[in-house]
């Protein structure tokens, strides 16, 4: 197992390099000048040259990429072109906000998905199944930015129950787990939970139905095992599949949704990515994409390890 974890960590290095290279090339291929955000359109030529020099953007691309990688390895992702702040600090703050939102969405989405999926499987073919399936299909089909706007119109604008934007009455920097702050979390978390809820519902329904029809469940019943014990066996058998789906979904949630975070002005990684794209803030853009990609890699590893621990039939390493 230990060797497996080490090997997976080593695999992450080429992935990180490839992500960094692709991202670096893409932002340089995109139209526009990387310093549009900083230099006024009619700046004299000598000012443009001086500023390019100050930001190190007068050097060949390969040299810029090399020096960026060199610093990134040491944990320094450079300084934002637009704000002059260290990229790492900005990403750290945004990531903590996205984590809060991702955990809240995952909690609602996964518990709702498991509940609906299990109900659908246990009551296979009945109206309960049909309702759960309908909810799942609706969940994965509705564009979440549209749902977000709709929820804002209903719950913020019309009913005036919940705030429509932001991460707390005084911003996210002094986040507390009280109602004044949590109410800001409700609408974005509910908006973002629908897709994972739909996908988890479908997975749980399919997996649990299959297990309920397997011979060992009949055998357990024939031996007179209590229902709760049987449910435990079913859950244990369904867990690895559901867990891997939940891991992937949690990865998407962690990436933060550009659209949802922008609709709710939630200061997470999606919102930061949106800002970086529109300001063509290359150091910030590269930094966020790299950190998010690494999160995905780490999360996949974590899911693999958990699966192995839960199901000894899965052998890794």
């Amino acid at each position: 197992m230990f060797a497996f974890i080490i090997r997976r960590f080593l695999f992450a290095i080429p992935i990180a390099l490839a992500v960094a290279a692709v991202c670096f090339s893409l932002v340089h291929l995109a139209p526009g000048d990387p310093l549009t955000a900083v230099i006024p359109a009619d700046a004299p030529a000598e000012v443009v040259i001086a500023i390019k020099e100050a930001y190190g953007m007068d050097r060949p691309l390969i040299v810029q990429f090399g020096s960026w990688i060199q610093r990134a390895v040491q944990g320094d992702l450079g300084v934002s072109v637009a704000t002059g702040r260290p990229v790492m600090g900005d990403i750290g703050l945004a990531l903590s906000n996205t984590l809060t939102l991702a955990f809240a969405s995952a909690f609602i989405g996964f518990s709702g998905g498991i509940l609906l999926g299990a109900l659908a499987a246990f009551y296979n073919g009945t109206w309960v199944d049909k309702v759960a399936t309908a909810v799942a299909i609706t969940g994965v089909s509705i564009p979440h930015y549209w749902l977000g706007l709709l929820l804002v119109i209903i719950f913020s604008v019309q009913l005036d129950w919940l705030p429509s934007m932001g991460a707390g009455p005084g911003g996210s920097s002094n986040w507390r787990w009280d109602w004044a702050h949590l109410q800001h979390l409700v609408l974005p978390a509910v908006t973002m939970c629908f897709i994972p809820m739909g996908i988890v519902t479908r997975t749980v329904r399919a997996t649990v139905s299959e297990i309920l029809n397997s011979e060992f469940v009949v055998a357990l019943q024939a031996r007179g095992l209590r229902a709760s014990r049987i449910t435990l066996h079913v859950a244990k058998n369904a867990a690895p599949t559901v867990l891997s789906v939940m891991g992937l979904q949690f990865g998407y949630l962690l990436g933060g949704s550009i659209l949802v975070e922008t609709v709710f002005s939630w200061p997470g990684t999606g919102y930061l990515l949106n800002t970086a794209i529109f300001q063509r803030d290359i150091p910030l853009l590269q930094g966020i994409i790299l950190v998010l990609a690494m999160f995905f890699v780490a999360l996949n590893l974590l899911v693999d390890v958990l699966q192995t621990l839960m199901d000894p039939r899965i052998k890794r390493g």
Binding site: T36, G84, L149, M165, W179, S265, T275
Partner: protein
């Protein structure tokens, strides 16, 4: 299998309860906000820099420049019925040396203190010019320099004459230098030193001489300004208890934030929400300001706009009132480059109006007709800062021009690409042979309005003369303007220059934006000046 669901029901009871409680809690109403706090939703995606040279364009200057800082001169933003004029601020008076008109002497205001209590004087002015222009000085800040250098292109050097007098030398005699100074804000040298000479620390804890102090800054989320009770100008003492600036770049989110009472004021509400906001009792303020929405014509070989009659015909073929209707009334029909009530508008011989018959006659005279229409390609964007509603407006203009015999095709570019192309010019391959470009701009002074686009020395890529426009008369007037130091003479030359430009029509003059803002009925005291900049000091909440 019957027993399994019953177990599942027991297991599921807790999450169901939790969800019920959570949804009930969600129904609790929001707590009310304190009076006297004005929360403003900006269009910027981050808090503009607070160290004395804001980024985020003019919105930055408006919110973290003119609030926290003062400049030697600024605009009088207290009036709404005329284009905001320049007035003394930290300089009480100035004069130009008659023997060497490159030298400007400024007398500084005495008794002004920075927020940290240190004194504003000639040394402070020198410190600030060095932070922008002298990269050898310890206080040089590349980030602030990037924002300011291009806005003060005439500056060469500065020296102290005495404690309250400084002398600035420009590169060449330039009467318009005074127009460039409002962008040069004064940060406190003593405070910068006390913070260990660290501009990043200064950003969190800035010190200017402005009517507001920064109380709290959360990057990307909010800046909170409180009144500077010791402000030197009694007429501009801040009335609100606190101004909270919140970046909300998404237009619908801004409107929803206003409707759900999370902010009291939003910049640039989405056009389609204005009637609804108004019907719900929100105040909508607007006023024409020095902004123009034009097509800038190309004068390269093969361009149909080389013929003045075609340029004038296009200007006569556009029904600006229908465009005004399209925009819900929020625009001023353009009759030239400047607002019709600008002191320098003048009385051009060529009157811009909607007269399709006259347009057809001009085209016929130029050799065009139904069988031989004018054909031109225009670069446009689907969105962009200050571009208003570019697609709808351009399509309407396209229809109107077609009716007189001008056939337009569009090349729709990403806003950033179009903006970068401005500096590349019409001859660059990136312009794809287009005959005009549609980029809006500020016209608050002669340099911004005219010189960078119309002077033949500024042909792209030197500056923004995108279409390679060359007119000897215009060049001559620009040279005269630069040496017209007497204000009355300066206005006379500028007026003549504007009249010449309207007559020659190197643009399709279409619209001036009116900068709509939406605010709660409780916001009071705001006067929307005819300017890109606005004064927040009289703004407060009704009891």
């Amino acid at each position: 299998m019957k027993s399994v669901p019953s177990v599942a029901k027991t297991c599921l009871r807790f999450p169901l309860k939790a969800l019920t409680v959570a949804s009930l809690v969600a129904l609790l109403p929001l707590t009310a906000q304190a009076q006297g706090v004005v929360r403003i939703g900006m269009t910027a995606s981050d808090i503009p820099l607070t160290s004395g040279a804001p980024n985020s364009g003019f919105e930055g200057v408006r919110f973290t420049g003119m609030t926290l800082y003062d400049a030697l001169v600024s605009w009088d933003l207290s009036v709404e019925d005329k284009v905001a004029p320049l007035v003394p601020q930290l300089a009480t008076q100035w004069s130009v040396d008659e023997s060497d008109p490159r030298k400007w002497t400024f007398t500084l205001r005495q008794g002004v203190k920075f927020h940290d209590g240190s004194e504003f004087n000639a040394d402070a002015v020198l410190f600030n010019f060095d932070k922008i222009f002298n990269d050898k000085s310890p206080q040089y800040d590349a980030q602030q320099a990037a924002q300011v250098v291009a806005r003060l292109p005439a500056f060469e050097s500065i020296q102290k004459i005495d404690e309250y007098t400084v002398e600035i030398t420009t590169k060449t005699p330039n009467a318009m230098f005074i127009n460039q100074l409002p962008f040069m804000f004064m940060s406190s040298p003593a405070h910068w030193e006390a913070l260990g000479g660290d501009w990043k620390a200064f950003e969190q804890n800035p010190s200017g001489t402005g009517p507001f102090k920064l109380d709290r800054l959360v990057p990307r989320e909010r800046a909170e300004l409180i009144p500077n009770h010791d402000y030197w100008n009694e007429a501009r003492k801040a009335q609100a208890e606190r101004i909270v600036l919140i970046p909300i770049p998404e237009a619908n989110t801004r409107a929803n934030a206003l409707l759900s009472r999370q902010v009291d004021w939003i910049e640039n509400p989405p056009a389609d929400t204005l009637p609804m906001l108004q019907s719900r009792g929100y105040q909508i303020t607007s006023n024409g300001y020095p902004h123009i929405w034009p097509w800038q014509f190309s004068f390269l070989d093969g361009s149909p706009w080389l013929d003045k009659r075609v340029r004038q015909a296009a200007n006569l073929a556009v029904d600006r009132e229908s465009i005004q209707q399209l925009l819900g009334g929020y625009m001023v029909p353009a009759q030239g480059l400047l607002l019709p009530d600008d002191p320098a508008f003048g009385d051009p011989d060529f009157k811009i109006s909607y007269d399709p018959e006259a347009a057809k006659a001009l085209l016929a005279e130029a050799g065009y007709g139904a069988s031989n229409p004018v054909q031109a390609k225009v670069l446009i964007s689907a969105s962009g800062s200050g571009q208003m509603q570019p697609l709808q407006m351009n399509e309407l203009i396209q229809q109107q021009l077609k009716e007189v015999g001008i056939e337009i095709s569009f090349e729709v570019l990403v806003w950033e690409t179009l903006f970068n192309n401005w500096r590349q010019g019409a001859a660059d391959p990136a312009s794809m042979g287009a005959h005009a470009t549609n980029i809006t701009f500020a016209t608050h002074d002669p340099f911004a309005a005219l010189i960078r686009f119309m002077d033949s020395k500024n042909v792209a890529p030197v500056s923004l003369n995108w279409g390679h426009y060359k007119n000897v008369e215009v060049d001559g007037l620009i040279a005269d303007l630069q040496t017209a130091f007497d204000p009355a003479e300066n206005l006379r030359v500028y007026t003549q220059l504007h009249e010449t430009i309207v007559e020659d029509s190197p643009y399709l003059f279409v619209a001036h934006d009116t900068g709509p803002r939406a605010m709660s009925e409780k916001v009071t005291g705001f006067v929307q000046a005819k300017s890109w900049f606005q004064d927040l000091t009289p703004v407060h909440m009704k009891d």
